[in-house]
Symmetry: C2
Subunit: 243 residues, 2 copies
DNA sequence: CGACCGATTGACTTGATTCAATTTCGGTGG
DNA sequence: CCACCGAAATTGAATCAAGTCAATCGGTCG
């Protein structure tokens, strides 16, 4: 269960065995959430840190007129709200998109973890990556075509899921509705549908019921202008990007 | 010079007098940057932390096809890259939009500052606000109309500049070209121009050469669906928003 | 089998972009 | 002080792409 966390953090910074054992002990096996269940609501205060162990979730904001914008995906290994005991109120909500296992850590747990220099550094780094993802998403929405936006998102998910062992070299389980995709990339479902069609038509992706296959990852990355360096994973840092 | 930093950090968390004195001593008066000069380039490594003392800058990313997306504004009091010595390479660039004074702090300076609990907390908090701004911008680009996007940006700048004493109750110096606005909100200059016209037509803003006036701030906030709580400033936390 | 949800489609509308002037404005130099 | 220059703002017309609306298709689950 906690292997995804270790996978992710080690992608950022190597960890001593002791730290991994501590992580394992602190995290436990987590609570099960049903599809659609909230992890934290907008405006809530919580002093618990949630960690996604299995399954996927998303961060979102709701507009006064009811529209929704998804502002992040939570994949296994992600710390959802490392800073929750600092904030009085969450400025966004988080919900389970699939059935999830979520660990709930207290401030004491976090202090135990951050007392270890390597862990503290890896956690700090993971927050930097969260911010980097937001910046890249901004570029995505601001300056890319619909198909490139969708392609970029798929590339990002591929890499993030690979790091935690939830994606193969050429694809992953896609449990995203087109409506969610639309609320993520700032388009309508119809446009997302057509963007996916274009990607399929160009042979860049292949979709079966709930699985997505990327026959030529480099080609999709090119189409998406995807440069994995923003994720700051160690491999990506060494490859030096794909654009 | 360092009063803007103190203003900003105190808007997040109260600081003891000693901490303010330390800040003042550490920051000094900064280096002067010319318009357009880079603070840090994309891909650079730096182990200096830059702090905006006077003037304004922006964060940006460049796309392979030459397009640019502005992903943040730097106003007086902002720490530009608090995490720079962690990162090997900046995933985005930062440049001066006006003549600026920028302080350059070393890792030792930062360690001195973060050794003080109140300062550490305020700095940590300022990073949370940076992330919150990115999330709000994502909502802006994804789900708001052109005029609301522009209006929202203006509201945000108003509040952020007010906190550091660079805006009055009803306006501020606007040194933003329409091209920069366009690269910020994901539109073309023409669309931005028309969005501004609509806002002016509705009496929500008034522009003279390099100054923007907002006759009825609440009205503009309403039009922009601007809820200042995401900035997590202490006043805003107490008001409880305007939507 | 029928209800339902999500994906898909087509026709139409709306609104943003593109392109190419034209105007405005601040600053410059005569 | 005024004419001129260049950058930025503004405009209009034509184009094109995304949104809207509404219907249909496909599969899943009671």
């Amino acid at each position: 269960m906690s292997s995804s966390i270790i996978g992710k953090l080690e992608a950022l910074h190597p960890l001593p065995e002791d730290d991994k054992r501590l992580l394992h002990a602190v995290v436990g096996r987590g609570r099960t959430l049903k599809v659609g269940e909230h992890i934290v609501r907008e405006g809530d205060h919580t002093d618990i840190v949630h960690v996604m162990l299995e399954g996927q979730g998303y961060r979102y904001k709701t507009l006064p007129d009811g529209k929704r914008q998804i502002i992040g995906y939570l994949v296994p290994g992600d710390f959802c709200d490392l800073y929750s005991f600092l904030l009085d109120k969450m400025d966004h909500g988080m919900a389970a998109r699939t059935v999830c296992q979520v660990a709930e850590l207290t401030e004491e747990h976090i202090l135990m973890l951050t007392a270890r220099p390597a862990l503290a550094r890896a956690l700090w780094w993971s927050e930097l990556v969260n911010a980097a993802i937001l910046r890249e998403w901004l570029v995505n929405m601001g300056r890319r075509t619909p198909s490139a936006r969708v392609a970029h998102l798929l590339c990002e998910l591929l890499v993030r899921l690979q790091v935690v062992g939830h994606a193969s070299a050429h694809g992953f389980k896609l449990e995203l509705s087109q409506a969610e995709l639309a609320d993520t990339v700032g388009l309508t479902t119809v446009s997302v549908n057509r963007a996916l069609q274009r990607l399929r038509g160009a042979g860049l992706i292949r979709q079966t019921s709930r699985e997505i296959t990327i026959p030529d990852v480099a080609a999709l990355k090119r189409a998406a202008q995807f440069d994995p360096r923003y994720l700051h994973f160690r491999q990506a840092r060494e490859d030096g990007g794909c654009v």
